[in-house]
């Protein structure tokens, strides 16, 4: 069997911690072989006992040096994520690793706007880290429903403090106004004159609003979400129509150029 395997996507990871960081939102760190994870914005597909399909969850950050761990953030939205929320340190999970294309850090400009909506926030964290490492200026705009749903704001701010001389600004919008600006992420974009491009992950209405706000004057990379069967390009369950043809969100995405998408 070993001699015919070319690439082993399925890796057994061990939970280090699994803690609630906002209302129904959990941060889980996992240890194991994560060498197939190569870009921020990729995801893993998690096998849960008692459930037929795996759960695709985006990677928040990953061990870029030793390839031996990653962090995911997930919201309890159904029975699968509810089961996950009760898991303990030491429990093991089989995960298909390093799925999707992720954000292309190389092609970003000098001042990148990162926009995360709800649980679209996590991939922005790993991305911010890599952009700062490349000496880019980063503005992060996060949108949540309410203060109780918000997370990682300080973590983003700390990124700036921890990385000497790096330049990061964090803005927050909540729909009910309980934290930051009242409204949506697009209500927080005033005065960002030097922004060169954006990277975003969140609900489709948010991606559309961002796209519409810049109306082609600034373009960027958008990460999409879709119900998936396999997560690695086999079942064609998660298709999206793009200007360059039908694509698979799991395999060709989840990140697409805004210029390639029919909004």
């Amino acid at each position: 069997m070993e001699n015919i395997i070319k690439k082993q996507l399925d890796q057994e990871l061990t939970i280090n911690h699994n803690i609630e960081i906002a209302d129904g939102v959990y941060e889980m760190s996992l240890t194991g072989d994560t060498s197939l994870v190569t870009a921020p914005g990729q995801f893993i597909n998690i096998k849960l006992p008692g459930f037929y399909l795996r759960r695709p969850i985006s990677i928040c950050e990953y061990d870029m040096k030793d390839h031996n761990g990653l962090v995911i953030i997930y919201k309890v939205v159904g029975q699968g994520t509810d089961l996950m929320s009760g898991m303990q340190a030491g429990d093991k999970l089989w995960c298909l690793m390093g799925l999707g294309n992720g954000f292309d850090v190389e092609t970003t400009g000098d001042h990148v706007l990162l926009v995360g909506g709800g649980v679209g926030t996590p991939p922005m964290y790993g991305l911010a880290k890599e952009l700062l490492m490349k000496q880019k200026k980063v503005t992060v705009v996060l949108g949540f429903a309410s203060k109780k749903d918000a997370f990682y704001i300080e973590k983003f701010e700390e990124l700036g403090k921890n990385m000497n001389g790096s330049d990061i600004e964090v803005r927050v919008a909540t729909v009910d106004g309980s934290l930051g600006t009242k409204g949506f992420v697009t209500d927080c974009l005033e005065g960002l004159d030097t922004v060169t491009d954006y990277c975003a992950c969140g609900p489709i209405p948010m991606l559309k609003a961002l796209y519409g706000y810049y109306d082609g004057k600034i373009t960027g990379q958008l990460s999409f979400e879709e119900r998936m069967g396999c997560g690695f390009g086999a079942c064609v369950g998660c298709s999206i129509a793009t200007k360059s043809g039908n694509k698979k969100v799991c395999k060709d995405g989840p990140v697409f150029l805004s210029s390639d998408i029919e909004m």
């Binding site: 996507l9 399925d10 037929y52 399909l53 795996r54 690695f232 086999a234 079942c235 369950g237």
Partner: protein, 303 residues
């Protein structure tokens, strides 16, 4: 230990065939393992024109299974022949099963005539679960006359073995199988997915945009097994059995019901390495069951 089998003169090293729609044109799996280990595989259902398929979301989870309403998303027969088959040739050296779909008799004929000229194709598998646009959208496979009509039309344009892939959403699977055999089919593939549905109780709306879709996975295995068993008694042509097969034990069970070879569908999506795992386990299992030649068990459960 001999785990080889045969389908209409086509010798397979083992009975394991990834099912259409779960294996694309082999490209993703060829990156994960050497797909030449497979008996064969049935490529993504192909139609005359390129199709996006149904609107998303088109996947829903079920207990021990899933529902899909992908809706025959495919690049169209011309691109399959010009791009996919040459790419496949580089990574798969065995004859492949061409899965063909159509929304009219003409479309089936056109696609089969085109694919007939492709040397790589060992068997044509004809999916008759699609709606007939000229007959009020009723699926060809739900009526013995229209199933026979497709069989006859396809047989008239190809010299390759033709396996008719039957829909389980019928009152009597035997009469459809008999109709296909009488019209000249070389074999029968069964079962396609069962029509199913899920509702999101938080929204009070169907999970899938198309409302309903095809139910597959381990939950349907007993239904598939029963139908293979019934069809084996009704016809004299070889059967490819499928529906929820996920283990080597399921493979043997399906063969004992009457299948000469077995397709693995949904299981490929939850474990991309399931086929090599089953192929590795089969000789071991045969030894445990004191089976010397796997093909000897075909239809053993009968009589």
């Amino acid at each position: 230990m001999d785990i080889s089998t045969e389908l209409s003169g086509l010798k397979l090293d083992n009975p394991i065939i990834p099912a259409s729609g779960t294996f694309g044109f082999g490209e993703e799996f060829a990156k994960l393992y050497d797909i030449n280990i497979l008996g064969s595989f049935s490529f993504k259902g192909t139609t005359r024109e390129a199709r996006f398929g149904n609107p998303t979301p088109r996947i829903a989870e079920c207990r021990e299974g899933m529902i899909n309403s992908v809706g025959l998303a495919n690049p169209g027969i011309d691109v399959v022949i010009s791009d996919e088959l040459p790419k496949l040739k580089k990574v798969f050296k065995k004859p492949v099963i061409a899965n063909i779909s159509g929304f009219s008799i003409d479309e089936y004929k056109y696609c089969c005539e085109r694919i007939d000229k492709e040397e790589q194709v060992g068997i044509i598998e004809v999916n008759i679960s699609c709606p007939n646009v000229h007959a009020g959208g009723m699926a060809f496979g739900t009526n013995p006359d229209s199933a026979a009509e497709v069989t006859e039309a396809v047989k008239s344009v190809t010299s390759k073995p033709v396996f008719m892939k039957l829909s389980p959403n019928v009152t009597d699977i035997k009469e459809i199988a008999i109709a296909c055999e009488s019209a000249g089919a070389d074999g029968i593939s069964l079962i396609n997915t069962l029509l199913g549905m899920r509702i999101d109780i938080k929204r009070g709306r169907p999970v899938i945009a198309n409302k309903m879709g095809g139910f597959s996975g381990p939950a349907i295995f007993p239904v598939a097994l029963r139908m293979v068993y019934q069809v084996y008694e009704a016809v004299n042509i070889p059967i490819i059995g499928m529906g929820g097969v996920s283990t080597a034990e399921d493979v043997v069970e399906m063969m004992m019901a009457g299948a000469s070879a077995v397709q693995i569908g949904a299981a490929n999506l939850t474990d991309p390495y399931i086929c090599p795992k089953i192929i590795e386990r089969l000789p071991e299992l045969c030894k445990e069951l004191k089976i010397e030649r796997l093909s000897d068990v075909i239809g053993r459960a009968h009589g």
